[in-house]
Subunit: 188 residues, 2 copies
DNA sequence: TCTGAAGACTTCAAAGCTAAAGTTAGGGTC
DNA sequence: GACCCTAACTTTAGCTTTGAAGTCTTCAGA
């Protein structure tokens, strides 16, 4: 542990307790449904904390959270683990420009290769290297241990119920991004 | 709507279906617990989508998601809605440097004021303006409508169960950030 | 009172992202 | 075959954030 150069990394979050937060919001905004607020706030906090945790874990492997996202996306594409920059950008929610730079970096680190598609020279093919796949696997092991530990208070039944409810929520947002006016549409 | 200059904004995410994703991961990584993966992936996706949605909503008010976060944090501090840059940074998970710049911008836009604390001139006090509070309220209304719509498939009982389970997960991560080795600690 | 040290920002340089403009290959249309 | 249009990146300029160094108070001790 003494040889780890103690990377500054993401700072710990310091938020007020969730109950406190909801109490203040109710005082400041009468229409608030505390049950809804509890769910939504807990979702947000949970994710922020988890992302901090993931970031710390993968940094031990010498990669950033951003790079890990790319590795995951390439593995999800299935063997031979290839995607174009444009497709990667869409799946990661980045602009193509950002993707270009990220691929530059990762190619320089040997995590992926970048080549022109010889059958259509407008296209570029980003492919996971063996080293990239190895890093993905190591990160995946750490992540799944962490996730199992996170969920250890929930029984198998509870996990099923939780998963099912989250999927229902997800269906609602995935098939219905708000339009410019900010309302959900296409929901039925 | 034609006068809105059609801000480019965040691109829509395009991820493979969750079932597909889990199937691929199971093929590539045998130790994976699909139930755990389902919960964790759904949590992540849900949050990404929600953040995109929030961002689009508040941009109609002329503020960014980042600015909205600051407004929320100041309101959470309670009247008279004051916090120092350092405290804000800790609660938002930013570096003090980033906080300085963000406050600059928001002060320029009239959302907050920034003054030296006369009783201790090392300190700075950031205070919500009336305009900032108004924007917060408007954003809050949009957000709570959106959240209610998001949860409309869940009954009151289900909401209670979901909230309770999320809180349990949150307790696990909040009181136990992984240490440098990446393991959860202090869990009992 | 002077000095040193700690604390709370702010400033600066560099990294990473977005938006918009620029390149280059492919595919139609006449 | 020449021309134009579109698609798929890449490049450029400007922001936002980070990490590290710098500035300005305040406070404790000599």
């Amino acid at each position: 542990m003494s040889d780890t150069p103690e990377k500054p990394g993401t700072p710990d979050l310091q938020e007020p307790s969730l109950d406190e937060q909801i109490a203040v919001y109710q005082r400041e905004f009468r229409d608030l449904d505390p049950q809804v607020e509890q769910i939504v706030s807990a979702l947000g906090r949970l994710n922020r904390r988890m992302n901090v945790a993931y970031g710390r874990q993968v940094s031990d492997l010498g990669i950033s959270n951003a790079e890990w996202e790319v590795l995951k996306t390439l593995v999800l594409a299935g063997a031979p683990y290839r995607l174009g920059p444009g497709e990667l950008a869409k799946r990661l929610g980045l602009t193509p420009a950002a993707m270009t730079h990220r691929i530059d970096r990762m190619a320089g680190e040997g995590l992926v290769t970048r080549d022109r598609d010889e059958s259509n020279r407008v296209r570029v093919i980003v492919e996971l290297t063996d080293e990239g796949r190895t890093k993905w696997l190591a990160a995946m092991r750490m992540a799944s241990d962490f996730e199992e530990e996170l969920l250890q208070d929930l029984s198998g039944d509870e996990r099923g119920v939780l998963g099912e409810m989250l999927i229902r929520l997800l269906r609602r947002v995935e098939h219905a991004q708000p339009d410019a006016g900010g309302r959900l549409t296409d929901l039925d």
